[in-house]
């Protein structure tokens, strides 16, 4: 196929297919990783603060989906693709690890 129907081409620089694929990938999987870690951390933090488990879970879910939407759109707006990758996957992985560690400490302490 000579041209993808989805291309919005700017005059200055034709849209590169690989760059676009990288954006789509990070907008979905990067945002998901971020939301996964952040909502886990949010739940553990609330439980550590004395909030009941199911209430903490509910709060995290109410924030998670609008949060995903915002991150998803940001992945297309942001200028630097590298920053998007680092932020979404990096924060996602870090907060997941932190949540897991904090949970262990909570269970050991309580």
């Amino acid at each position: 196929m000579s041209e993808s129907p989805l291309h919005y081409r700017s005059a200055a620089e034709p849209l590169r297919r690989s760059a676009l694929a990288a954006r789509v990938f990070v907008s979905l999987f990067g945002s998901y990783t971020f939301v996964w870690g952040a909502s886990s951390l949010l739940i553990v933090a609330q439980v550590a603060g004395g909030i009941a488990w199911d209430e903490a879970w509910m709060v995290a879910m109410l924030v998670a989906f609008p949060g995903f939407l915002a991150l998803f759109l940001w992945a297309y707006i942001a200028r630097s693709l590298l920053r998007v990758w680092l932020c979404l996957f990096g924060v996602g992985a870090a907060s997941t690890a932190l949540a897991a560690h904090w949970q262990l400490r909570l269970l050991a302490g309580g």
């Binding site: 196929m1 129907p5 739940i43 989906f65 707006i77 949970q103």
Partner: protein
């Protein structure tokens, strides 16, 4: 990469809209049908055309029903693969928990149970070894409804709405979830790329050229129903939050387990069975007590949901939940009784602010309330959503028709053929299924399977027809598949109404005069669909003739 934010948002809007719009169309359309799923069930299963029934007496009617209930063979097969040794005789599997569920629109009662499996699991961590069984019951007699009747509304259209009836369902859940997220993104990006949002709030110019009027209609339907679209997509995701973001079942499983044990201690509702057999006290007395408690609290109501955990065990308890017919939130105000003594163990406290919000959000989507105006307004909202998505597709093809006709004619044809299939083809498939439901012999083995096949094959035929007829596009015309399928819709809708009359005797005049609204409503809606489809076909034929006589009109490809 994108020069401006608007350009990036436009790409997201078009790209995700085009790829997932087909799924969204299915989700919106079947969601709309699901607003009246129980009514469609009555139409499709004439044996259940009787008055709505309250939760029947447990002691007299339901207790014997659960003794006759058996695990689902397919579920037993799955269990057999997870345990060591052969499963014992089905009738000997002990019933460990049960539920009964009804709403203010159900003549029939849904019952279900979990059966214990004595075999050791292959994987020691596999601690939820239960075989499930469920059935539809006539609450007046306790008789099971015949198994080969497909409740088209609740068992096919409704699951289509959230799982596309995919197998395994989890794939469907995820595709629908992604589509719902795309809907949210499309709404936000749509608002951002709309150039004259407030100025053109009420603007529809049907007399302008089709590209302009299509975009007007796309914007109008998108904006006026924006809160509906946004909240339904969002609450749909929230309802399945535990599937889309299963942190509680993976990363945070240890905390989740700790909570379960803590909760059992706090509420006094045992988490585990004691292993000591105990008899069951009168459940009817518990129901009467629960109703009295609700009346005392100023919220008199009917029982919507009843469960018994640890059946026949010393630790057994009965939970009785109030039907949410009079408010947005679902069943609730649970009162829990000791199964052995019938004493109240625990009464659910008033929900916290967070829970009240989440119950409102999920309740507004799942709509258990008794409010017929709101129900019809939901139907309108869903149809407006369908129009919004469909006009999005039509605008996309109209805009690119000239350009694409030359260098990628196959892409143009496939986008348009898929659009026809997703709009008129889907309606044809539904009608094909309803017609099959009325013509297939009542004692046909695996009748439900044939009804489902009628649905899928009708849809497939619609796709083939749309593809074959789309060659006309390349000459700049509107695909004749649109008007031909509209004629098909009108014909099948009238046929379905006629067949209902012939096979059951319930013609529209009879159902209206006797006030049997479930069937009268479905028949009247089918006739309305026939009229609309016929009118649309006549208009499309008119436009086709006009276009042919005026030869080629100039089309400018700029977007307003």
């Amino acid at each position: 990469m994108f020069d401006t934010v608007r350009q990036a948002m436009a790409w997201v809007h078009t790209g995700f809209g085009l790829v997932l719009g087909y799924v969204l169309m299915v989700v919106f359309f079947f969601g709309t049908l699901s607003v009246f799923d129980r009514e469609i069930d009555r139409w499709a299963v004439p044996e259940t055309r009787f008055a709505v029934q309250p939760m029947p007496s447990f002691d007299r009617v339901l207790a014997p029903v659960y003794q006759r209930l058996r695990p689902d063979p397919a579920d037993l097969e799955r269990i057999a693969r997870r345990v060591t040794g052969e499963l014992p005789d089905v009738a000997s599997l002990p019933l460990v928990s049960l539920f009964a569920y009804t709403t203010h629109r159900d003549p029939v009662l849904l019952v279900g149970a979990e059966f214990g499996v004595p075999n050791a699991p292959l994987d020691p961590a596999d601690d939820h070894l239960h075989a499930h069984g469920r059935a539809q019951v006539d609450p007046r007699s306790g008789a099971f409804l015949p198994e080969n009747r497909l409740q088209i509304g609740t068992d096919f259209f409704y699951p289509m709405h959230y799982s596309l009836n995919a197998s395994p369902a989890i794939i469907g859940y995820w595709v629908v979830g992604l589509a719902a997220m795309s809907m949210l993104a499309a709404l936000v990006t749509g608002l951002l790329i709309h150039r004259r949002l407030l100025r053109e709030l009420f603007t529809f110019r049907p007399h302008k050229r089709s590209q302009r009027s299509t975009l007007d209609l796309h914007n109008l339907t998108g904006v006026v129903a924006l809160p509906f679209h946004f909240f339904f997509a969002l609450t749909g995701l929230l309802i399945f939050a535990a599937i889309y973001l299963p942190v509680h079942d993976s990363l945070l499983r240890p905390l989740d387990r700790q909570h379960e044990v803590l909760e059992a201690a706090q509420t006094g509702l045992p988490h585990e069975p004691a292993g000591v057999p105990a008899p069951l006290a009168s459940v009817d007395a518990m129901v009467a007590q629960a109703k009295a408690r609700w009346a005392q609290r100023g919220i008199p109501g009917e029982v919507g949901f009843l469960t018994i955990e640890h059946m026949g065990d010393l630790n057994g308890y009965v939970s009785i939940f109030r039907a949410g017919s009079d408010r947005v939130a679902l069943v609730g105000e649970g009162i829990h009784f000791s199964a052995r003594t019938g004493e109240i163990l625990h009464e659910d406290p008033a929900p916290s602010a967070v829970h009240a919000v989440s119950e409102f959000l999920t309740g507004l989507h799942l709509q258990h309330f008794r409010h017929w105006l709101l129900r019809w307004l939901y139907v309108l909202g869903g149809l407006v959503g369908c129009v919004c998505i469909a006009t999005g597709f039509i605008f996309f093809t109209e805009k690119r028709k000239r350009q694409w006709a030359h260098h990628s004619p196959q892409s143009l044809r496939s986008v348009d053929a898929l659009a026809v299939t997703a709009v008129t083809g889907m309606v044809l498939a539904v009608l094909g299924m309803l017609v099959a439901n009325r013509v297939l012999p009542i004692d046909l083995p695996a009748r439900a399977g044939w009804e489902e096949r009628a649905f899928w094959y009708t849809w497939l035929c619609a796709l083939l027809h749309a593809w074959v007829r789309s060659t006309a596009l390349l000459g700049g015309a509107v695909s004749p598949a649109w008007r031909e399928q509209c004629i098909g819709i009108a014909a099948l809708a009238v046929l379905a109404v006629t067949l209902n009359w012939v096979t059951t005797g319930d013609h529209l005049w009879h159902t209206v005069t006797t006030g049997y609204w479930p069937v009268a409503g479905v028949d009247a809606s089918l006739l309305a669909v026939a009229v609309i489809a016929f009118t649309a076909a006549v208009r499309l034929y008119g436009r086709g003739a006009e276009a042919a006589s005026s030869a080629v009109e100039p089309v400018e490809a700029s977007r307003g």
